[in-house]
Amino acid sequence: MSFLRIHAQPGRTAVWTLSWFLFATGIILYFYVAQERHRENPDERVMPTIGQMVRGFSDAALKPAEEEEVQTTSGSSLLSRFRSSMLWKDTEASGRRFLISVALLFPAVLLGLHMAMFPVIGAFFLRFILFFDKIVALSLLPILFIAFGIDELSKIMLIVIGVAPTIILDTFNLSKSVPSEQIVKGFTLGASDFSIAYRIVFKQILPRVLNSIRLNLKAVMLFLFAGEMIASTDGLAYRIALLRRHMGMDTIIPYVLWVALLLFLVDFAMNTINHKLHPWFEAA
């Protein structure tokens, strides 16, 4: 039974097979149950077949959005048809909110750094942010509506309020963990306050901070979806909420997979950039 031990060394094929096993089981089980349900009810909607999902997805990705006047007809290229489709418009709307929110997380990093380096700033913010971090932003929606309306701003603020405290506190802890000897050494070599903060501490923690933002992308996405489901006129979650109303699972499942793919790509890109920028950084 040595293959179950810590020192087991599965071969390439074994690793490949094992890692795809749950995917295959899930997919097979899904289509088995879907097929049985379709046999029993030809209009079955809860578990669409692969054909229906492909059709649902190609309709979403290639047909012009319904509000649009018919300008793109059969002649245009695949790309331009995609660019006038419902899927692209939704992705664009959600993507814009997503990117703005992630961009707004960077000031949070700087705040965390300054809180750790400058005791007065730390004293001013730390206790409040520790408290704020524990507030479940979603339950205070009516107050958010007063402050930020129900248009774009409130959706972005919901994300920022939900995720920024985590990032601030994480940056704070990472900055604190830089050995004080380094800071003392920096001062003896004549560094100023800001060169200590930015050129010694910040440089060291940056890869870990990027990693922490990367791990929080899922939270960003959750808040974004929550915001779009509450009130919106476009976006990926808006579409899913609408489709749910008539059990459009044939489009919802591909949408969910599309979102997963996009998230995976962003995650992958951030990871790659992080490694390129900081080749000395080894943590996963």
Binding site: L29, E40, D43, Q52, M229, A231, Y238, H246, M247
Partner: protein
């Protein structure tokens, strides 16, 4: 995907017998999941969600009235509260046997998804519960070009578009910008955003919004009486079970329903006690529940419900509703013709293709109740 599957399995192992009844593996799994085999008494589940016309289901179960009727027919009936959308999902996924829903959702959710559905009880119609509310004395004609907050593709949108059509503004509907807003937040979202001029929603949210200054109702469901019907629907296959238990279930629920409605409508302190018990279903006060009842046309007697269910108006209503559903794609992308999801009325008349009947209005059980034969 996997989580979705296991979830399904756990919620109701019983339903597995339908899609995968043959496999011995599945049977083993089923037994493993269920622990021990249940007693032979057939059990049924009724799903309901908070709404003035459906809250009685809560009290029906709590007061023991339902128990009494279920015992009479030798079955078990469980009543379970859901949020509205999940209750529809559960019904379409066949996790529950009966569900309270409107005529519109009965058509565009289960019926359009191929789940043959029978409306057993016509409980009430919205007689002012649903309303179009505006700020600053706006008129319907001024709405095009402005933002309207509502839960898209629901009865709210139906009400709004009917309001426009009745007032000769049908052609303007496409200039209205809908802002899809979740019903759990729509009241606070409207009240805190003065730049949003119009909202369409239902009670008790309407009452809450009307407490604000400078808002008024420009259209409500009492102007389209009988079009937004609240039903109790049962899956037809449950009703047609060979052992007759499904029919017993329908009889028991109908019996319990009209017993409770009689208690509700008999004047006196007894009724107030019952109404307070029902109001508890939505954490409402007696006064607030009574206010909601005042804009709900309850069919307190089986005869009243029979009258509307067998009147020709029902056919006109359902035609409006199915055209609305079809135009808004609610019957599904695959449905190429409005006739593909056909509706059958008491007496046998059919709207749509006779071989594709998916929604049936049945008066059988209300009839039995009216004749006192339950």
């Amino acid at each position: 995907m996997l989580a979705f599957l296991t979830n399904r399995f756990r919620i109701n192992p019983k339903s597995l017998t339908l899609p995968c009844g043959r496999g011995p593996v599945m049977i083993a799994l089923m037994i493993a999941l269920m622990g021990s085999a249940p007693a032979a008494t057939p059990s049924f589940t009724v799903g309901w969600s908070v709404y003035v016309g459906w809250n009685p289901y809560y009290y029906m179960a709590k007061s023991g009235i339902l128990r009494k009727w279920a015992d009479k027919y030798g079955i078990n009936i469980r009543v379970q509260r859901f949020d509205y959308a999940p209750s529809l999902d559960a019904f379409v996924a066949k996790n529950i046997d009966a569900c309270a829903m409107t005529n519109m959702e009965a058509l565009d959710m289960p019926a359009a998804a191929g789940v043959d559905t029978t409306a057993v009880i016509v409980g009430d119609y919205s007689n002012g519960n649903d309303a179009v509310i505006v700020r600053q004395n706006l008129t319907l004609a001024q709405i095009p070009g402005k933002q309207v907050m509502l839960v898209e593709k629901t009865v709210s949108q139906y009400l709004f578009e009917r309001a426009m059509a009745i007032n000769g503004l049908g052609a303007q509907i496409r200039r209205v910008h809908y802002l899809n807003t979740s019903d759990s937040d729509i009241a606070s979202a409207f009240l805190t955003n003065p730049d949003k001029p119009v909202v369409v929603t239902w009670k008790p949210l309407v009452s809450q919004i009307l407490k604000a200054k400078d808002v008024k109702v420009v259209f409500n469901s009492s102007q389209i009486p009988g079009e937004i019907l609240d039903l109790l629907v049962v899956r037809s296959e449950v009703l047609n079970r060979a052992d007759g238990s499904g029919q017993k279930f329908a009889k028991a629920v109908t019996g319990a329903w009209y017993e409770l409605l009689k208690l509700m409508s008999t004047a006196g302190p007894g009724a107030d006690k019952v109404l307070a018990g029902i109001a508890e279903a939505s954490q409402d006060s007696l006064a607030s529940y009574k206010e909601q009842l005042s804009t709900t046309h309850m069919f307190y007697t089986p005869q009243a419900a029979l009258d509307i269910a067998s009147s020709p108006d029902l056919k006109k209503t359902m035609d409006l509703v199915r055209q609305f559903c079809f135009q808004h794609g609610l019957l599904g992308e695959k449905t190429k013709s409005v006739d593909d999801v056909a509706v059958q009325f008491p007496g046998g008349a059919v709207l749509g293709k006779p071989d594709r009947i998916r929604l049936r209005f049945s008066t059988t059980y209300m009839q039995l109740a009216a004749q006192g034969k339950l």
